[in-house]
């Protein structure tokens, strides 16, 4: 589904955010990426839908070579949902309008079709009653669930999550993780940057540890938690796990 080969991203010619990363993600696989702050996790994720343009290497998504200029990038982006740490809902639109906008403009759905799909996704994330609210009237957890519903309404083939619970108050983390767990159980291909190790344990097929722009190791979560092969991985988990 996703194949990164030799992915390299350098900012301003001097900041080597991602160095020669190879990663293959199968259809239906759930991959959790962890690593210290500034290690390049977000950059890798953002290269998968070309919010960042790689300096070198190739990004293959669903058979499309993204770095090839002949690829219609808007088309591929519609197939790749992205959930941000800061939610990034459109504040001037209601929840319903947030979810129908791209469906209508990109998928060409009628208003009625788009609204029906929106209600279906809102029900799935547990807040159908918020359809007519504005984002600011919702709690952080509700906003993030709307953001997930907004992505899902496009019926993407892949979902990317960049620290989806990091900006949430602690009591709201679970409601978002529950939605993500359910999504994983339904077989969605997911790439998740998150330090929620409970989620990784429960849902991840593979845990990828990244440091200084490189993949240090990857494997089943339990194996990496209990028996990391590298000193850097061990040191990292010593810091984040109680």
């Amino acid at each position: 589904m996703i194949t990164l080969s030799g992915l390299t991203k350098t900012f301003d010619r001097t900041i080597h955010a991602v160095k020669d990363v190879d990663l293959h993600i199968d259809e239906g696989e759930v991959v959790v990426i962890v690593g210290p702050s500034g290690s390049g996790k977000s950059t890798i994720l953002r290269c998968i839908n070309l919010l960042e343009i790689p300096t070198a290497g190739t990004v293959l998504v669903d058979g499309f070579e993204l770095t090839d200029t002949s690829t219609d990038i808007d088309h591929v982006r519609a197939e790749v949902g992205m959930v941000f740490q800061q939610f990034n809902l459109f504040p001037h639109l209601t929840v319903m309008e947030n979810i129908t906008l791209a469906q209508r403009k990109v998928r060409g759905r009628s208003r009625a079709e788009a609204e029906e799909m929106a209600m279906r996704q809102l029900t799935r994330v547990g807040i159908p009653e918020k359809a007519d609210s504005y984002p600011r009237q919702l709690s952080g957890g509700q906003q993030q669930r709307v953001a997930i519903a907004r992505s899902l309404a496009m019926e993407p083939r892949v979902m990317l999550f960049d620290e989806p619970t990091s900006a949430l108050d602690p009591e709201m983390v679970k409601e978002v993780l529950d939605v993500m767990l359910e999504l994983a159980a339904e077989g969605m291909t997911m790439v998740v940057v998150s330090h929620e190790m409970g989620f990784a344990r429960a849902a991840a097929d593979r845990l990828v540890f990244i440091d200084e722009g490189e993949i240090i190791e990857a494997g089943p979560p339990e194996e990496i938690f209990t028996n990391p092969a590298h000193e850097r991985t061990r040191a990292f988990f010593d810091k984040i796990l109680y």
Binding site: R77, A78, M82, N88, P91, H92, K105, Y134, R136, Q137
Partner: protein, 285 residues
């Protein structure tokens, strides 16, 4: 928000010599908008003068026909400036290196020169020379020539000047929207244009409309500069009246009166519009 903070600090700082701070309400005379009462009084006095004194009435009769020109020039200059400003503002944010640099050059150039010399330069040099250049072709090809009256030249100059100021307003408004908004739009598959039109511009408008309103008022006032080209708007008529009758006081009082009425009612309208915008926005913020 500020009220909450006020209440907090009040609690923390204990009253000193037994004086109690039971309320932070201020007496009516402290909050009453005296300034508007003063201005209203001045306006009433001016209106009274015009209505009762023959000299003022004469000045009014001679000057007020210029209103039409003032208003027309304001509307024309504002409309052209809007188009130019939006183009130059978006141009500065364009990915195209040529568009970006042309816009930037235009904005920096115009903003660096005072209005008066610019009006002379454009009206007396730039417009005649470009029209002459164009006309030699137009005349040869179509037997038709292109003419700009002094009034139009001056209006175009004003529009070009305010276009540069508005470019900065548009650019600032667009840039005030966090990049996450366009990233969210793009990652849903919206094109750049769709993201700009449906996500960025509607939000930017809230930051753009109030300063644009201020520019409208500023243009209205600056149409007085057209008088240097002999355009018969209010100021020029006031100058002519005063010079021919030696009634300077009457002439310039009436001129000021007309401008004040126009600008004050416009800022009142603008204030109402802004109030409505913040109220509409409360639902979502």
């Amino acid at each position: 928000m500020t009220q909450d903070q006020g209440a907090e600090t009040d609690q923390k700082s204990r009253p000193r010599n037994g004086s109690k701070r039971v309320t932070d309400e201020r007496p009516w005379w402290d909050t009453f908008p005296w300034w508007s009462a003063i201005i209203a009084a001045i306006l009433l006095w001016m209106a009274w003068q015009i209505a009762t004194s023959e000299d003022y009435e004469l000045a009014w009769d001679r000057i007020s026909p210029g209103l039409r020109l003032t208003v027309t020039a304001t509307l024309q200059a504002f409309a052209i400036a809007l188009v130019v400003g939006l183009a130059a503002g978006m141009g500065q944010l364009s990915r195209n290196v040529v568009a970006r640099n042309i816009s930037r050059t235009y904005v920096e150039f115009i903003r660096g020169i005072p209005i008066l010399p610019l009006i002379f330069t454009v009206a007396l040099i730039v417009v005649p020379e470009t029209t002459e250049m164009l006309n030699s072709r137009l005349n040869a090809w179509f037997g038709w020539e292109f003419k700009l009256s002094f009034q139009m030249r001056a209006t175009v100059t004003l529009a070009l000047i305010y276009g540069a100021y508005m470019a900065e307003i548009f650019r600032g408004g667009i840039q005030s929207i966090p990049p996450g908004q366009s990233e969210a739009g793009r990652s849903l598959g919206l094109t750049r244009r769709q993201t700009m039109n449906s996500v960025i511009l509607p939000q930017a408008m809230r930051a753009i409309i109030p300063p644009l309103g201020n520019d409208f008022i500023a243009i209205l006032k600056d149409t007085s500069l057209l008088s240097v080209l002999g355009v018969l708007e209010i100021t020029q008529r006031g100058r002519q009246f005063s010079a021919s009758t030696f009634k300077f006081r009457e002439g310039y009082f009436v001129v000021s009166f007309i401008y004040l009425i126009l600008t004050l009612s416009l800022s009142l309208l603008l204030g109402l519009l802004e109030k409505r915008m913040t109220r509409d926005r409360q639902g979502e913020r």
